[in-house]
């Protein structure tokens, strides 16, 4: 398989004015540079589903904006489907779809299906093709009942399903999703995850998804790229990510008084057997669970080490 | 009585403060006011040269300033009240020891007064620099300001009344815009009615705008105690009428809320 996205030492620096309002700021502006993305390199193959993870301000949105042709980089380069995004904005548009969870691409007052119709026209789809495509997506994302409602009347979860459909109408090969589950409740998140994954598998869509919810990446993606302060700090499969942190075990025991005792064991220094022996000696155990660390902890640990 | 005044005075003051802090809005107002004064000053200068009457712009630009002080200083109390009624916010006030309507009116007066005074202050300087002299004697100035402020207060009351009509009307905004237009035409918003044809003035006389706008603002260039008296009497009459309507509507509203609970 070929690399559909290539990112090579991509950098983005923002220049911020330091002294704010007032005359002084007008005549003697002092600048401070913020490096949002710092020599970032990675490649993504066709059909991969990649989670793009990092703490607030890590540079995820900035990277996605550069890859989707909204921002120019300061240095470095990138190719998306063989095109340099910021130099081929309109051509690339036909091949990529974007969903920014924080804003809407649907027309606020129009019924959802009219928004879809407009998008179909914007991408120059002919009517038959458009209708076939839409009916498939409507079925897949289960939004038949929402079509007649104006966007403003939709709940956040319903709207997000429609947003994703809107970004898929023109059959993009790549879908950028920037925090698609932000603000959703547990069920709505679950629905979005399932649908996104189902669609991606069915049409072999390449996904690049950012989220602060580690479940999103576990349930949807097969690979994870972690950045911090604009720099790449991890790039491997989800499986490998878990593997490399499996040397920690979370043990929880309940004693006969009903009290729960939690411990974390590092299997490199303490074998599990030894830890269990100690616990058995100390407490009258009625119940015991041994778990791998939750993804949340793994990610935290990675940030901490960086 | 004093207690009531203090109570609503607090809402007035809060809105006044808020208005003062809204620099963007105030500078926008002043900018627009300046443009209007500048353009119409030019117009009356040109006409003045044509007519050999160099005081035309002095008269009409000062008139325009005070007219705009009343018109542009109006906040949108009709919108606020309509929203309150539609959203049921007013039901929350039913068990509080204040009149919901008076509270909103006091707030609107507060915001109006900020714009009115700022435009009055800065606008007077602008107008003075454009025309050189005012068309009135300075000792009457406070009286004129007070009369115009009272007109503005009646104006605000008017739009509060329109807001209350949300009880019966679908779109109060349409009514408000229509009234705005009528006021613009019949009140002589940009040019005093004295230059309009007689048949027109005869119609205008029957509207509240004739006295609340035109007669009152006219004091700027045509001050006499008789004129003042005429404007004051007519304005009071209209005020009584409006207060009557508002009282009726408010009573009706409270009954509705009491029955349906909002």
């Amino acid at each position: 398989m070929t690399d559909i996205i290539k990112v090579d030492r991509l950098c983005k620096k923002f220049r911020l004015k330091k002294n704010a309002a007032g005359l002084k700021g007008l005549f003697h502006p002092e600048y401070k540079t913020v490096t949002a993305v710092d020599r970032l390199s990675f490649n993504i193959k066709e059909g991969e589903r990649v989670a793009f993870i990092g703490p607030n301000g890590a540079g995820k949105s900035t990277t996605i904006k550069m890859l989707s042709s909204i921002l120019h980089p300061t240095s470095g380069t990138a190719e998306v489907m063989g095109l340099i995004p910021w130099e081929n904005r309109r051509r690339l548009a036909y091949h990529i779809g974007t969903v920014f969870g924080q804003r809407s691409q649907l027309w606020y007052n129009l019924p959802v299906q009219d928004s879809f119709g407009l998008i179909g026209k914007i991408y120059g789809l002919d009517d038959i093709e458009f209708r076939r495509r839409l009916s498939k997506l409507v079925r897949l994302f289960e939004i038949r009942d929402l079509l007649g409602h104006p966007t403003r009347s939709l709940s956040l979860g319903q709207r997000m399903r429609c947003e994703i459909v809107a970004s898929l109408i023109h059959r993009p090969q790549i879908l950028f999703l920037d925090e698609p589950t932000i603000g959703l409740d547990v069920t709505a998140k679950e629905i979005i995850r399932n649908l996104v994954k189902k669609q991606a598998l069915e049409e072999n869509t390449t996904l690049l998804l950012t989220s602060h919810d580690t479940d999103d990446m576990e349930k949807v993606c097969d690979r994870v790229i972690i950045i911090n302060k604009g720099r790449l700090i991890f790039d491997d499969s989800i499986h490998a990510l878990k593997e490399s942190y499996l040397n920690k075990k979370y043990i929880e025991v309940t004693d006969d008084s009903g009290a729960k005792i939690k411990t974390v064991v590092d299997t490199k220094t303490t074998p599990v057997k030894k830890a269990l022996d100690e616990l058995v000696q100390k407490y009258h155990i009625t119940d015991i669970t041994v778990e791998n660390p939750p993804m949340e902890e793994i990610i935290k640990e990675i940030y901490r080490r960086d | 009585m004093t207690e009531t005044l203090l109570k609503y005075g607090a809402f007035f003051r809060a809105a006044f403060k808020q208005g003062l802090l809204n620099r963007g809005m105030l500078s926008g107002l002043l900018f627009f006011l300046f443009i209007l004064l500048f353009i119409y000053n030019r117009l009356w200068e040109v006409i003045g040269i044509q007519d050999n009457n160099s005081s035309l712009n002095t008269i009409y630009i000062w008139y325009l300033l005070f007219a705009e002080m009343i018109i542009l200083s109006l906040p949108k109390p009709d919108r606020v009240l309509t929203d309150d009624i539609r959203s049921g916010t007013m039901a929350y006030y039913i068990n509080k020891p204040i009149s919901f309507f008076l509270m909103r009116y006091a707030e609107a007066l507060g915001s109006m007064t900020v714009s009115f005074l700022v435009m009055g202050g800065v606008g007077s300087l602008m107008t003075l620099s454009l025309t050189g002299v005012p068309p009135f004697e300075w000792r009457y100035f406070p009286l004129i300001i007070i009369m115009c402020w009272l007109s503005s207060a009646i104006n605000v009351l008017f739009y509060c009344g329109i807001g209350l009509s949300a009880l019966w009307l679908e779109s109060t905004r349409t009514l408000a815009v229509a009234v705005e237009r009528l006021a613009f035409i019949f009140g002589g918003a940009i040019f005093p009615l004295s230059i309009y044809p007689d048949w027109f003035v005869d119609i205008a006389r029957w509207t509240p705008f004739y006295s609340v706008y035109y007669l009152t603002i006219k004091l700027v260039y045509d001050f006499s105690w008789t004129n003042l008296f005429e404007a004051a009497v007519l304005n009071s009459l209209w005020t009584v009428l409006i207060v009557g309507f508002v009282g009726f509507a408010y009573h009706h509203l409270n009954k509705k809320v009491n029955i349906y609970g909002g």
Binding site: L16, K17, A21, G25, P29, T98, D114 | G28, I35, S171
Partner: protein
């Protein structure tokens, strides 16, 4: 190229259809807003009638000039408000990031921005334009053709100016209010009898605040049908489009560089 143009035209009509649909969600409101707009405009025209009725003419302008001015100005404003209103919202789009939506679209961003909004009430302006033209008495075929052409040129200048003012937002923070104010001043200037601006005022009237190209020059063209005036107006239209488009493009580049904000 031609194919591209036809496609864009189709898209344009499709977008307008959607705006219509939105407006007609409440038919009563839509129509009453049009009527109110019409009455609003006519009340201004009545006011000018009063002045001209009183004073005869103002620096050589009479009421028929004023009617022609209102025909052109209302047409120009209507076309802007109906088909390019989105330009007015550009600072807001930049501020809340919805500009990104237009940047990832395969259509030209400016086209998408301009057509993104439309205010139905401004059909009332188009009606006003028609009424004013009929009342003006310049109803022969040549005058009609000139009126249409002048209206189109005035539209070009008006939209360009709005674009220029809106594009300021690429360079400074929140300029929505500032832009709205400058544009309102521009509109106010263009709705006065143009003859009152003489000397330096006239220079300003044809440069920084180019309201003269909405009022003075179009009226002159319709009345005189003179070639130099025709060329002057056409030149101004083309020039203003070129300047504002370049400024917009420059701003967009800056936006893409991410260094728009002074302070964040």
């Amino acid at each position: 190229m031609a194919d591209d143009f036809i496609k864009t035209l189709k898209l344009f009509f499709y977008i307008q259809k959607s705006h219509f649909k939105t407006a007609f969600l409440s038919v009563g409101d839509a129509l009453s807003n049009v009527v109110i707009m019409l009455i609003n405009n006519l009340s201004f025209i009545f006011m000018w009638w009063v002045i001209f009725h009183n004073k005869g003419s103002i620096n050589g302008w009479d009421f028929s000039d004023m009617l022609l001015l209102n025909a052109v100005m209302n047409n120009a404003f209507a076309i802007f408000a109906l088909f390019a209103r989105g330009i007015q919202a550009l600072p807001e789009y930049i501020d809340n990031g919805s500009l990104d939506n237009y940047l990832v679209s395969p259509q030209r961003p400016l086209f998408m921005i301009a057509t993104s909004e439309s205010t139905f009430a401004n059909w009332g302006d188009l009606l006003t334009g028609l009424i004013c033209w009929i009342l003006s008495g310049y109803t022969d075929l040549l005058s009609f053709a000139l009126m249409i052409y002048a209206s189109l040129c005035a539209t070009a200048v008006l939209i360009s100016y709005r674009l220029l003012v809106s594009s300021l937002a690429f360079f400074a923070g929140d300029t929505q209010k500032l832009g709205d104010n400058i544009f309102m001043a521009f509109i106010t200037f263009s709705s006065q009898p143009a003859s009152i601006f003489t000397g330096w005022y006239k220079v300003m009237f044809l440069s920084i605040i180019p309201a003269g190209f909405i009022s003075l020059i179009p009226v002159m063209l319709i009345k005189t049908a003179a070639l130099p005036v025709f060329l002057f107006l056409s030149g101004a239209a083309v020039l203003s489009i070129v300047i504002s488009a370049a400024f917009f493009r420059f701003g967009l580049k800056r936006y893409a560089s991410g260094n728009r904000f002074g302070v964040r």
